[in-house]
């Protein structure tokens, strides 16, 4: 009975849905996290009689035909690039991007990764690094005798050095944007990698046209809305139950068949 496997695809899809929702909820407090959404598509159809087929010798056509669907599949799990709210932290190296753009991070293996999580720090050798110690590109060296570091909206990093009157420019942070930011590949630790789907990174200065501004002393929260996640969770659970009911019904119908000849 095909309805068993059709309902099974429905249960699998809802299971995937719940997995995505639980990951969103788990990352409710992850800096710069972008929520994901499972999106479904119907599976193939078996056409038993094509709509418009000729059904009699006088040339009448069937208006609808017979098509039986094979269930549902997870078409994509889509990352929703939407600005998260920002929280003030007062920390000099906490940077949030307001608008489009990601920070560039150098991975230990030399590859470039991208992130919205701007909870940076200064390493022992005076570089601005992520919380995992990866350097933020293009690389800013913070002098040893620094009193205060300020980052402007357009990414210019200035240091107030002890014994000097004016702050000195020590570097400028860059941002990247992508044609299709949702197409980036997440590798964990709030990091994303370029893929053929995302397109080439376009590097620019914060505040330029099409790039966001940098807010010093702020962090971007996850853009997860708990209420929305919970309502989606409830809907997914009910849908799962209904698919289970279909399996139950198919099973009962099969048992009717089995008991036909007593």
């Amino acid at each position: 009975m095909k309805s068993l496997s059709i309902a099974a695809t429905g249960m699998l899809a809802q299971q995937r849905n719940v997995e995505v929702i639980s990951n969103n909820i788990a990352n409710l407090n992850t800096v710069g996290y972008k929520r994901q959404r499972a999106e479904f598509q119907d599976l193939l159809y078996q056409t038993i009689e094509r709509p418009g087929a000729i059904s009699s010798s006088t040339g009448t056509v069937t208006p609808n035909g017979i098509q039986i669907g094979a269930g549902v599949k997870t078409g994509s799990v889509y990352r929703i690039i939407e600005q998260g709210a920002v929280t003030a932290t007062g920390n000099d190296f906490d940077l949030a991007v307001s608008g489009k753009g990601l920070f560039r991070i150098e991975l230990p293996d030399g590859r470039e990764a991208y992130t919205r999580a701007g909870n940076f720090a200064v390493s022992a050798d005076g570089r601005i690094v992520t919380s995992d110690g990866y350097e933020v590109l293009p690389g800013v060296a913070v002098p040893e005798d620094v009193l205060d570091v300020s980052v402007s909206e357009d990414g210019v990093v200035e240091a107030q050095i002890a014994g000097q009157q004016d702050p000195r420019e020590i570097g400028r942070l860059e941002l990247v944007v992508f044609f299709n930011e949702s197409g980036l590949e997440a590798i964990g630790d709030n990091l994303l990698l370029e893929t053929p789907a995302s397109g080439e990174p376009i590097i620019g200065n914060p505040g330029d046209d099409g790039f966001g501004r940098i807010l010093q002393g702020y962090l971007e929260n996850a853009n997860v809305d708990p209420v929305q996640e919970i309502t989606t969770l409830i809907a997914a659970q009910r849908a799962y139950e209904m698919n289970a009911r279909v399996i139950e019904t198919s099973d009962e119908m099969l048992s009717i068949n089995a008991n036909l000849r007593q």
């Binding site: 159809y45 208006p63 609808n64 098509q67 039986i68 044609f179 789907a197």
Partner: protein
């Protein structure tokens, strides 16, 4: 007697198909832009005994049709710039390897070349049937209610909404797509809502009651077979006793 068995069997076959259709609806209750299918039953008449009045003695059940309910699904707000829902009739056009297909699922995105695509990566067409190019550096896309896409106040394209004359001739091909017998013309007047998506139009309550109905009807058909079977057995028993 065999007729009763055959009649019951024909009903069971059709009910199995109805269950498959309902199962597919239930499985797709969270699929955006999905349109529910239903099975239309028909009495299939056949004259069995021509010696009597010529009236049909046995009527079997057949299922000449599954039909798609093109009623609108609920419109759900998603707050995404590239999610679109059509108000009223019509479908979005999509360029696939197999030709132009149509969909009510308006969850689009931009690919690596700046083209507007569906989640499967197929090109979304404008009202002239060509792909839509979005400049990622020109800021957010604003859509008017007539489906005109604008960036920084300048018109980029007009999203194509195609209306079939007879929706019944559309055939589902999976991936939320429909195929039409011939390429459709763009509808002149459309209403498109940006930041919304159309949910599945499957009614879960109706699907659950359908399930119960199908199962009970299946039971009855099985009983019919059972009773005919018993009658045949009794006839054999009774006749063999006489002998």
């Amino acid at each position: 007697m065999e007729n009763a068995i055959v009649a019951g069997l024909s009903k069971q076959i059709v009910l199995t198909r109805a269950l498959e259709t309902t199962a597919n609806n239930v499985a797709n209750q969270t699929t955006a832009g999905f349109k529910a299918d239903h099975v239309a039953f028909a009495e299939y008449l056949r004259v069995i005994d021509a010696r009597s009045s010529g009236d049909p003695l046995v009527s079997l059940v057949s299922d000449p049709d599954t039909y798609t309910d093109f009623g609108a699904g609920a419109i759900e707000q998603t707050f995404r710039d590239l999610d679109f829902a059509i108000e009223g009739e019509g479908l979005f056009g999509v360029e696939t390897a197999a030709g132009v297909r149509y969909t009510r699922d308006g969850r689009f995105s931009v690919n690596a070349f700046g083209e507007l695509v569906t989640r499967s990566g197929e090109l979304v067409l404008d009202n002239g049937g060509s792909p839509i190019l979005i400049d990622p550096e020109a800021g957010p896309v604003i859509a008017t209610s007539e489906g005109e896409l604008q960036q920084q106040g300048a018109s980029v394209a007009r999203i194509g909404v195609f209306a079939p004359e007879d929706a019944r001739l559309l055939r589902k091909t999976g991936d939320n797509l429909f195929a039409a017998p011939a390429e459709l013309d763009a509808a002149p007047i459309v209403r498109v809502r940006q930041g919304f998506t159309e949910t599945s139009n499957v009614n879960p309550v109706a699907a659950m009651t359908d399930l119960i109905e199908i199962m009970r009807a299946y039971e009855q058909a099985a009983q019919l077979t059972d009773i005919s079977n018993n009658l045949a057995r009794r006839a054999v028993d009774t006749l063999s006793e006489r002998a």
